[in-house]
């Protein structure tokens, strides 16, 4: 019931294996099983947003518009998956937004300064990003301070370093172009290319996003680590008492966020050929919003990767839908805020209904 187990096969299984308990299980209606899924609130919300903009915005339903919406969703969704996993594990990461920029800066500056193949920079960036994630997790598990404080600290330090190092090394707030460096085109193909399907252009980040959602769901629902993530978020002391490696799980979750930041950062870099060092501030909240809209409990222990994807999709539809409807984009944040409140209320209500003992 925690997340996304398919209701159908379960019931069949129970029928086959425990005829004794059969007649009582039938009392749990399929509707109730559906209500118990963490994504439900967000799916309802996503449908509402979709219908709304389909009616109000001309051209929202065009294939090219949907491709734009999916692209906007994917740039948030790539980070929303690991951030959702981290929230299920009971922690926040406020440094996630600027870590994306850091990751892009490291990659670009390393390649440029060392005149190395861009792939070397990409690799170094991965290692450094993972190290920063591990640092967050290590500080959290060692000091036992709230993750809010720890990652707020990392957030500010990264902000400063992004600007400071870029000015120190390149003299301006943006990095030098690496477009003429070896391996640039192949790296761009991996991180920022466009795939044409049926005459419509899709950004490759959509594939990265889908892959991460699949990977996140697999980890959460079908692996031992997934069980541990739910447990450390739901009741850390109980998890520790039955032998779950709590610290390792949390450090791993922070490294997962860092991995997502690395993919996003490389996309940021290879979409163009240089990076603005001030970018990314504020995005960490959007990732958290996507995860929460998708059904993640802010207190941990509950949520899903698929939900975070639906949350990201709502974000993409709203941000682009407002443009297609030719409204003033200033209204976007109002919609996002309203959506967050509604989704959270709906989720709370749904969960109460689902958990009520029969």
């Amino acid at each position: 019931m925690t997340a996304g187990q398919s209701a159908g096969p379960n019931t069949v299984e129970q029928k086959a294996e425990a005829p004794v308990a059969d007649e009582r299980i039938l009392r749990t209606s399929p509707l109730k099983k559906l209500l118990a899924r963490p994504e439900l609130g967000s799916v309802v919300g996503a449908l509402a947003v979709f219908v709304f903009f389909a009616l109000i915005a001309d051209g929202f339903l065009r294939a090219s518009s949907l491709s734009t919406v999916l692209y906007a969703s994917s740039t948030i969704g790539i980070m929303a998956v690991p951030v959702a996993l981290l929230m299920i594990g009971g922690e926040f990461d406020l440094s996630a937004g600027v870590l994306v920029t850091s990751s892009a800066l490291i990659s670009s500056m390393f390649s440029y300064q060392m005149t190395a193949n861009t792939w070397v920079g990409v690799g170094v960036s991965l290692l450094v990003s993972l190290a920063i994630g591990a640092f967050n997790g290590f500080m959290l598990t060692r000091t036992k301070l709230p993750s809010f404080i720890i990652t707020l600290g990392t957030f500010l330090m990264l902000c400063g370093m992004n600007l400071g190092f870029t000015k120190l090394i390149d003299g301006t707030v943006s990095t030098k172009t690496i477009a003429d460096m070896q391996g640039f085109s192949s790296a761009r193909a991996v991180f920022a290319s466009t795939v044409t399907v049926g005459g419509v252009d899709f950004k490759i980040t959509i594939l990265w996003w889908l892959a991460l959602v699949a990977l996140g769901s697999w980890i959460l629902l079908r692996t031992r680590v997934g069980n541990w993530i739910f447990a450390v978020g739901g009741n850390e002391d109980a998890a520790r008492a039955v032998g779950v490696p709590v610290a390792k799980t949390k450090i791993g979750l922070y490294m997962g966020v860092a991995f997502g930041a690395w993919i996003s950062g490389q996309h940021l870099l290879f979409s163009f050929d240089a990076v603005q060092s001030g970018e990314g501030v504020g995005n960490e909240l959007i990732y958290i919003i996507a995860a929460v809209i998708g059904g993640c409990l802010i207190t941990g222990g509950y949520g899903s990767a698929v939900g975070s994807a639906v949350g990201a999709l709502i974000f993409g539809m709203t941000s682009k839908g407002i443009v297609f409807a030719e409204w003033n984009p200033d209204w976007f944040k109002f919609f996002l805020g309203a959506m967050l409140l509604l989704a959270t209320l709906l989720n709370a209500w749904v969960r109460k209904r689902a958990e009520a003992t029969t």
């Binding site: 739910f230 520790r240 032998g243």
Partner: protein
Amino acid sequence: MTDGMTDETTPTATTAAPALVELSCVGKHYGNVRALDGVSLQVHAGEITCVLGDNGAGKSTLIKMIAGLHQHDGGTLSIEGEETRLASPREALDRGIATVYQDLAVVPLMPVWRNFFLGSEPRKGTGPFKRLDTALMRRTTREALLRMGIDLRDVDQPIGTLSGGERQCVAIARAVHFGAKVLVLDEPTAALGVKQSGVVLKYVAAARDEGLGVVLITHNPHHAYLVGDRFVLLRRGTMVGNHTRDEITLDELTAQMAGGSDLDVLRHELQRD
């Protein structure tokens, strides 16, 4: 107990075989605070050792030492006759000591079957496709609970939807299933009604009948006397009594537990003129 199966040692089985867990004169200090001092206790297979004491008597400290959460400062801790120190809860678990805590035994939002296998999840497949054997987990959970006499509607429901007593029972069934030799129960009947307490005690007895050594922490002498074979009384961090069942009656136990003379003083104070 297995040693006790041979004919000539049967009468003295419990004394001949080394105790599953034996504490002798253990102590624990937190800084300059003495939490526990000079406590001895034996846990034998198929027996229930009750630890009784009021709030602050040192019961929690005692189980934390047996569970591997804290290390003892003085005295010795032996497991099956071998003196040892437990470094972590994981080590205690690996040596067959399972602890069921009063309020942190389970993760409320997780389904019963995920809780049941938490920390010891069975897997199938190889390499990156190694995954939880969810069918086996669900089936085993239902079977293990049935074996303890717990008939659950649906193992997919969040364990938080079960009653307090049912949750304790699931935790006990889990310990039994994973082959624990010693089961430590932290106030399993506290905060439960009379009927629910009775149900939990029934499962405690069922665990004993499965051959486990049970440590039952409680501040209720009536519950303790219903199932206990040995009674250790704690007060203000020291041991004030260590009896086997044939040495003591329920009334004596209750009196000692309440701190006999303290009770007289209290009666005197509360007496109306």
